[in-house]
Symmetry: none
Subunit: 236 residues, 4 copies
DNA sequence: GATGAATGAGGATTCATTCAT
DNA sequence: TATGAATGAATCCTCATTCAT
């Protein structure tokens, strides 16, 4: 909840609170924050059930139980909603699982690292399906629509920096490429996972880990991974 | 499966085929056939530059240089365009690279098989970017919109049947899962490939092959792949 | 079949046949006549199942199994089709039941006259549902759209002239009014009749006759109709 | 049955009725309520001048002086407009003439009842020509398009229940048939009335009453109507 | 004559966004 | 703030009609 940027507001309220009398604006802010949360929750629902393009601002407002006008009081346009939602989800992720994670893991062997990263991330996506919608950049592949791609970009960066800790022998360009690949694999794998349930879902999770492990393992460190173990559950 | 015709015409003309290669009804069709091709080309353009959902029939007509009415003379709706375009691309692919391919390859070692399949397929997609748009099913992930998903379904089936020849030890359910995974990996990898050019593109191609090889190789045959070679160009 | 006007043609073929060499044009005419009949049959179908306004020329052409262009080779527009169809149905009616009928009946008592007129007319409408569509003038009531209202006008005139033979004591204006009333009653009654089947239909027929009989009977001749009998089947 | 509300609004506003006559949510509605009235007036105009089918939502919006979008803010489609308009007209009729009417009249002799019912109803239709458009159900006869036929259905029910009070000797099925007949006669008669003006209109009114009286009178009560009088003004 | 292609205006409907209150 | 009204361009699609062959 801290660290929310909400940076897309027109002008008005920005960073009010440094000056005295901060309490009254606070309360207003509070109502506003509630509205924003409401709207973002609605947007998450709508995005995840119809996709970004098909999501209409009217639908979001309706889902949030407010008028379209109210929505535009907080967001200048549809994209800003996606951006803010992405920010919040990113934060929520970091707060929930990420904090501990960003720093460490580098010591972990690849398989454990994959477990440590993928499991919470998958869980988070299952619980916040909008996240996966936003992780996919624009719906038209290959086109980076400078829009709500913060989630995409942030996650990619994260992946890259994590991998950089493992692929120490490789030149930056190649690490970047591998990170891109690993990330898109994760994203589609995730779609497949989320499209299934129960045992089938679990099986897809296992499969995804296997793929990534086998892809990355030979590249790790001095490429010397003698007892190349699969992650926790790598079936023959 | 091959030889799909336009199929979207009303009915009517019929009975004009008493003699083989009847030319009378053809002459009329000529202009129409040309228009259809024109429209499908336009649709391919529009689909690949905006995606299926965002593609408007008016935009397709405009791109084709005809009026909206003309488009609807040949296609009852946007989906029919996608379906027909998919059919044509599928056919074109099969005619160009596929014929020789469907039957054989089973004898090839995995790495050669990947080269043999992926290279032409990537080339084909680069030359026909709409194909990759159609290969991705519906844009909202997890939802199979039985619509224009023929391309998706056909390709997936193909992948499955090819893999079945390699993953002889595995139960059907798992083969299916692996095929799904391999296919989505291919699709996203392809997006990444198409989003780049020149050496970078080549590098991504190599990367994609590596991923698939490493994923599948341990699963092949008796799982006994002693000298696990990468495809042609598997870099350390 | 004689007496067809087909008067809406552009120019061309009109009344060719008076000059020698009539046979060849005849044959052409024959094909043309067949097409026209085909188109009018189709139009009758479409009109009676969707109404005039909703009927599309394309639908008529399709139903006739010809191209739109062909339709317009014979009729300058949709209305002309209705007009010609009306003419033909009017003629068909006259030929079938009407010939004998126009002249006589005046001697018949009202009830018998109603039977003699209504029964064949109802039968004819049941067999040619388009007739009733055309009998109703324009679909927007109260507006006489100089269009295909020939059927309407002709039938009304017919009604008027028949009634004039019975309502000998009344001034013209009133006869006209009564004819109008009787005619619209007939038309709606007919709709009701055609909307039902079997016994229910028969019951509605009886009801319609009753209405008209009771309406007209007091007005007949010297208004001296002592034993005011209902038509054949006037139930208590 | 009475008291039908607008009903076409989303939902939302709600809970604004804790205190009676809450004014807050009303003020917003004021403009909207006015627009709705405006749109319905426009719809009435358009419906009565072109008929329901030919009436376009764009035409209605234009007539109302608003943009198409505004129309759709209040009505989801053309039919909803017809329904709401029908409801309003039905209510208006009931409020104006109907209240006193529904209950009583049963004691009146047939001729007075006809006067008592038809006169106000005709006046109302003359003042609200759209009412007659809606009273006619679907424009293609014989087809009940469950749509905006509330007016049709309601009026028919009314007719039926009134007649049931007079036709006490007849079985239900027959009363229903007679009601149907009487109603369609009224509707067409009304069209004829509305298509004329001044004395001619009055004459048609008289004629319509005569028809209905003569149709129904023999069926009334014990069928014993000795001195069969016409309504107020039954001319020889 | 016949065909089928072509047109373009028009119809219903949606939607991101703005405005008055 | 919040509302809901307002907009108008854009969407998909239809239809009467015309034109080239």
């Amino acid at each position: 909840m801290s660290g929310t940027k909400s940076g897309t507001k027109r002008e008005g309220d920005s960073k009010a609170g440094s000056s005295p009398g901060a309490t009254r604006p606070r309360r207003r802010q509070a109502r506003g924050e509630a509205r924003i949360a409401q709207l973002l929750d609605a947007a998450a629902d709508v995005f995840s059930s119809t996709g970004y393009t098909a999501a209409s601002t009217n639908a979001i407002a309706r889902e949030a139980g407010v008028s379209p006008g109210t929505l535009y009081q907080f967001f200048p346009n549809k994209e800003a909603i996606a951006i803010e939602l992405g920010d919040r989800l990113l934060n929520r992720w970091q707060e929930t699982y990420g904090a501990a994670f960003v720093l460490s893991h580098i010591e972990l062997p690849l398989d454990e690292m994959l477990d440590a990263i993928l499991d919470p991330l998958i869980t988070f996506n299952v619980e916040n399906p909008a996240f996966s919608v936003l992780m996919h950049g624009s719906e038209i592949p290959g086109v980076i629509t400078q829009e709500h791609d913060t989630v995409h970009a942030t996650m990619l960066t994260r992946v890259e920096s994590i991998l950089a800790g493992y692929l120490t022998e490789l030149p930056a360009g190649q690490v970047s490429r591998i990170a891109n690949m690993a990330f898109v694999i994760f994203k589609t794998g995730l779609d497949l996972i989320m499209a299934h349930e129960g045992d089938e879902r679990d099986a897809y999770v296992k499969e995804l880990k296997t793929i990534l492990f086998r892809y990355l393992e030979p590249l790790v460190g001095a490429s010397a991974l003698p007892d190349s173990a699969c992650p926790k559950s790598c079936e023959a």
